[in-house]
Each structure stands twice: as C-alpha cells, then as structure tokens.
C-alpha cells in the first residue's frame, strides 16, 4: 500500500505492535491524506491509541513496547529509520493528549518552550510573535492575552487543552496527533476544540482518536475503525457512519457493542 503519492502526509503498512508478548496492533495499513482530519474509532483497548502513539514514536519510552512496520512521512521519510532523530520527528508530528498536560509554568513559557529548544525563533520578538500567533490559532489568545505570566495550571480544563494545542503548533508541525482530546472536557469546551480542529485542518494534517462517534462524524473526513488490534474498516466518514461495509462496524456505530 505504501506508494510515493505525496498527497499523503503519512503512510503506514504492516504495522505490528506488541506489549511484551501481548499483541496490540496486528498488521495495520493506513494512509493519512494531507490537510484532512482522520478519526480513529473503536472500543476501549482496540489499539487505536497505541497506533496513534506509533506515529510520533511516543511508544519508544515504553520499554516493553515493540513496534514493527513501515511508516513513511511525506512519502519518503521512514520515521523508524536509525537515521531519524526522534526529536526532529516530533517537531514535525505534534501531539495533544487525553488529559490536558500543560507544564506548571506560565502560559507564555508553555507555548515558548518548543520553539526555544528547537531554536526556531532567532530573537525575543520573534518568539513573542510565535507565542502570540500560536495562541491565536488555538483560539486562546483573547482569553489569556492579559495574563501571559500566570501559571497555566490555573486555566480551566478547556483552556488548558487549547493551550496544549497552541504548544503543539508553536513548533510548526505538519501533523497533529490528538489522543481523545475532549474526553476530559465539558460539552462547551468540546465544541470549541472541535471548531478549532476544523480551522486547523487548513494548515495541518490531523489524526484524532475519539470515543465519541458523533465527534468523529463532526470533525473528520476519513474514519478508521479498529477492533482488537485490527483495522476493520477505513473510509469516508460519511460512508462509515451510514453504510459501513463490515457488520462489525455497523454493530459498533449503532451501539450494539463497545
């Protein structure tokens, strides 16, 4: 399935993941089109988060986790190649986590941290601009512009999550991975994040793991359904939620299991 088609931000094939001896992902192949939102759905423990974490090698930190497979960024960069620095990869593939995890530092420092360590800004002014711009894109700037030096953990949950999105886009990634970004948020905060995702797809490729099927149908154009480590079905979101090919998918989206 891997080809040199540059319409894909990320192409994967023959992906196997084991936790020790336990298989978590079994021969998954999935491509992510550029500037589109792809949802990964499925019941708990189906491997969708594990798969997502393979895409920026966050599984590297788990000792017992063993990842095999082909992962091509922009059609030519093998992200598991020994030549690839994982830090550079994560500069291109940002991530937003399930629970908002801002650093217990100021709002400014949270956003500025990534650009600082990568040396993206050449001057303090430029850094200020990046921080401002990132917060703007994350739809948070108006709310925090007067308290950039406040500690970020004092923000509301929804604001914290948007701050984490700002932190992720401050290093100008190509792809943003979102691991159930709204599961800890109330409906209003969730709606804001979903609006944000719709805006962000103009510039970024977004891959989102979600438990909420309505969220998947609202934000994504492509949807992949995982079950027990297998990719059961992948296709246009509209089709998956109305006329899925597989019975398993149908059972899940109609709420018969999961």
């Amino acid at each position: 399935m891997v080809d040199q088609n540059s319409n894909y931000a990320l192409q994967t094939s023959e992906v196997y993941v084991h936790y020790g001896k336990k298989m978590a992902i079994n021969n998954v192949a999935l491509n992510f089109p550029k500037n589109e939102v792809t949802s990964l759905i499925g019941p708990s423990g189906c491997g969708k988060s594990t798969f997502l974490r393979c895409l920026n090698r966050m599984n590297d930190v788990i000792d017992i986790c063993n990842v095999k497979g082909k992962f091509l960024l922009n059609g030519n960069v093998d992200i598991y190649s020994p030549d690839i620095q994982v830090e550079t990869l994560r500069e291109k593939v940002g991530m937003v986590f399930q629970k908002p995890n801002p650093f217990p530092k100021t709002i400014y420092e949270n956003v500025a941290y990534g650009p600082k360590i990568h040396g993206i800004a050449s001057s303090q002014n430029e850094l200020d601009e990046i921080v401002k711009d990132s917060l703007h894109r994350a739809g948070l700037y108006e709310e925090v512009k007067d308290r950039m030096d406040d500690i970020a953990t004092g923000l509301s949950g929804g604001q914290q999550q948007r701050l984490c999105i700002a932190r992720a886009i401050a290093i100008r990634p190509e792809i943003i991975l979102m691991d159930e970004p709204c599961s800890a948020l109330d409906p209003i905060a969730t709606a804001k994040i979903e609006d944000l995702i719709n805006e962000l797809k103009e510039n970024y490729t977004i891959i989102i793991v979600t438990h909420s099927m309505s969220q998947a149908s609202r934000v994504s154009s492509k949807t992949a359904f995982f079950h027990l480590g297998n990719l059961v079905e992948y296709g246009e979101t509209g089709k998956i939620f109305t006329k899925p090919d597989k019975e398993q998918t149908n059972d899940y989206i109609t709420g018969r299991f999961g």
Binding site: E87, T88, N101, F103, I117, T153
Partner: protein
C-alpha cells in the same frame, strides 16, 4: 450486656488507652525539657565581681601606642595580680592565692581584650566587672551547697567570707554570658563557649551538603529516569534501602578506615566529618529524591517529549524542578539527622579539646553533639550547665531545620 454496648465499651476503653499513652509520652518529653532548661539556663548567666582596675603602666609590657598584635601577645598576669592586691588590700601570700582563685583564671585575658579594644586606658582607672571563677559562680547560683563541711566544698571558708563581704558591698552581680556564644572550648567552664563546635558542625554540614546533595540528586535521577529497570537496579535499590538503615558508627569506621587510613586525610577536621555525614545522608537523599521524582506525573514527561525535547531536556527542564521541593525536604531532614549524629564524629576524632574556633573545613574542630559529649564527661559542675545549654542549642537547630523542611515543602510544592 448487649453486643452493641460491649463494642461501645471496648471503644471507650481503647480511647482511654490511647489518651493514656499520649499523656505518658508527653509527660516524659516535658520532664526532659524541664530538666534541660532548668539545668541549662544557668549557662547563659555569668557571675561577675565588680573591681576598680588601675591599668598601671608599671605592670603593662605595652603602651597605648603599641600595635594590636603586640598588645595581644603581651602578658597581663602581673597586672591581674596587681588589680587583686588593689581591691583586696593587705593579703598575705596564702590568702592572696585563695582570693585569686575566686576570679577567673582567664582574668589576664579579660584585661588584655579590654586594652586591645581601648588602648588609651593605660594609666587610667576603670570600673570593670571581672568574671568570677566557675566554682564561685556555682556557689552564687546555688548549685553548690554552702552549708557543708569545708573539706567537701570547692570554696573554702575564707573565700566564702570574702564573697559575703563583696556581696554586702554590692560588688557581686550577674551578667549575660555572651562568652558561651563567642568562645571556643576551654578548660575553665566560665570561659567555655559553643562557637567552636558550632562552626565545626557548620563546616561539616556544608561539606555534607555539597557532597551528598549533587551526588544523591544525580544518582536518583539516573536510577529513576534513565536506567532501564532490571536485576542490577533491583540490587542497587535494596542496597540503598539497607544503607539508609546502617548504624552511623559504621560510617564512622568507614571514614576512619578509608578517608583517614587510605586517603591520608587529617584527623579531627570537619572535612572528614562532613564526608562521613555525607555518606550517611546519601541514601536518605536518594530515597527522598526518587520518591519525589516518581511523584511527577508522567503526563509532564510526555508533554515535553511530544514537543521534541530530548530525554535530558525533559528531565532537567521539567521533572527535576518539579521534584526539587521533595528532594530538598528529604535533604534537610537528612542533614538535621546528620547534625545530631555523634558516633561518626567520635571515630574520626572530632571529639578532642579544641580551643580555637575553626576557620574552615581543614581546621581541627569538634561538632555540636561531640562537644556536648565532651562537656558531659567533665567532672566540674560548671560544665553540667554547659552540657544542657549545648543540648538546647542543638535542639533549636534541629527544630529550625525541620521547620524549614516543612516550609520548603509547603511553599514550593506544585499542586496538580
């Protein structure tokens, strides 16, 4: 009696036992405190004898133009004798010695220090409070009984009569004993002070901190964040926990055998004492630091890694700053423990008689606990109150350090 009544009665009894146990332990603490304070408070007061001192140039080897160094080097024994003769005229040789014994043996030093501070006093008469000898001091404070046969007294009948006549003339008085805080150790209780031991302990703790804190921090960060868990780390972990429970005298032996024996470091210096205390504190710091590193949520590490921070940047920019309050608390508590530790100091010789106040970690010194031990061994009654006063000082430092530890934790701890 119904079952419920029985259970309620049992609960009442249990409460009573608990209260009894608590009251009993409080009672013991109070007795200890009372004993220490009642014995030790005397050390902060010194008996003095008021005397007119004529700084007779005939008995002084130096003049008001002499340099401070010359003044400090000269002898003032003759001047001191002269002052006694002036204030107690008509003494024969035998009685002179008796009267001389009523004043501190360091009389001449007291005169020397006065001249050094006021060189122009030579040739003039000044009214001074001269420190009494410790034995006289103890009589005045009522610690030695007066109404016993002369042979059982340190102060003989003649001296008592002089004391009473001085007292009736209003010459006896008591003053705050600042010498206790400014002097080093002395053979004479009235001039013995704690400063030498305090500085010894200070330098030892300084060495202890500079040695144990960075090593403990790095070891714990390495063990907790970098090394892959396995058999070797398990063995190391067990050993660290065991080392934290090793009696301190064993560390003293280590210091004696390794630092002094093998590396040839000097005996009885705070450098060696500090290193030994550092060995002892190291496991405590590592355990506390590892616990607080473990307390930093993994989501913070993930957040930093996800924006492309290296492992080391993640640890040094985020994890260590967040774990520092816990590490510091553990360190301060470990150092407080080290401050009170006596056995290692005994073994490496920080328990000798040292008069000079140490000017650094390489000067011979005692430590607070070993100084207390030294004084407690002394036969003279005057050292008994010094012992208790030393304990008061040591306890105050322990309380201060533990309070600081609590404050650090409260103030710096990050709430999640």
């Amino acid at each position: 009696m119904s079952s419920l009544e029985k259970r309620l009665a049992a609960e009442k009894r249990f409460k009573f036992y608990g209260m009894f146990a608590m009251t009993l332990s409080l009672f013991f603490v109070l007795i200890l405190m009372y004993k220490i304070f009642s014995t030790g408070s005397g050390a902060f007061v010194r008996t003095t004898i008021n005397a007119d001192v004529y700084f007779d140039p005939n008995f002084i080897e130096v003049s008001s133009n002499s340099s401070k160094k010359e003044i400090m080097k000269a002898s003032y024994v003759d001047l001191a004798d002269q002052v006694i003769n002036q204030n107690h005229p008509g003494l024969d040789e035998e009685n002179f010695i008796k009267v001389r014994e009523m004043y501190t043996r360091k009389f001449d030093y007291q005169l020397r220090d006065y001249i050094a501070n006021n060189p122009n006093v030579i040739g003039k008469t000044v009214n001074l409070d001269i420190s009494a000898s410790s034995d006289l001091d103890q009589i005045v404070k009522g610690n030695y009984p007066r109404n016993v046969p002369e042979a059982q007294r340190k102060i003989n009948d003649y001296q008592l009569s002089i004391l009473d006549s001085l007292d009736s003339k209003g010459k006896m008085s008591k003053t705050f004993n600042f010498w206790f805080f400014t002097n080093g150790d002395s053979r004479d209780p009235e001039t013995a002070g704690i400063l030498g031991a305090l500085m010894g302990s200070f330098y030892a703790l300084l060495i202890c901190f500079s040695f144990a804190f960075p090593i403990g921090l790095l070891a714990s960060v390495y063990l907790e964040e970098f090394v892959k868990p396995g058999k070797i780390t398990d063995i190391i972990e067990v050993n660290i926990n065991n080392l934290a429970a090793v009696p301190s005298i064993v560390y003293g032996l280590l210091g004696l055998g390794m630092l002094i024996g093998v590396f040839g470091m000097p005996y009885q210096v705070p450098l060696v004492g500090g290193l030994v205390l550092g060995f002892m504190t190291l496991p405590t710091i590592i355990i506390a630091s590892r616990a607080s590193l473990r307390g930093v949520p993994p989501s913070i590490r993930e957040g930093a890694l996800a924006v492309g921070a290296t492992k080391m940047q993640t640890v040094f920019h985020h994890v260590i700053p967040l774990s520092l309050p816990g590490t510091l608390t553990g360190t301060i508590i470990g150092m407080a423990q080290a401050l009170g530790e006596t056995a290692p100091l005994l073994l490496i010789g920080m328990v000798a008689f040292v008069m000079e106040i140490p000017g650094g970690a390489f000067d011979p010194a005692t430590g607070l606990p070993s100084q207390i031990y030294l004084w407690s061994e002394s036969a003279e009654r005057g050292f008994l109150e010094k012992t208790s006063a030393g304990i008061m000082l040591l306890l105050s430092f322990l309380i201060i350090m533990n309070t600081v530890a609590v404050l650090v934790r409260r103030k710096l701890e990050v709430k999640w």
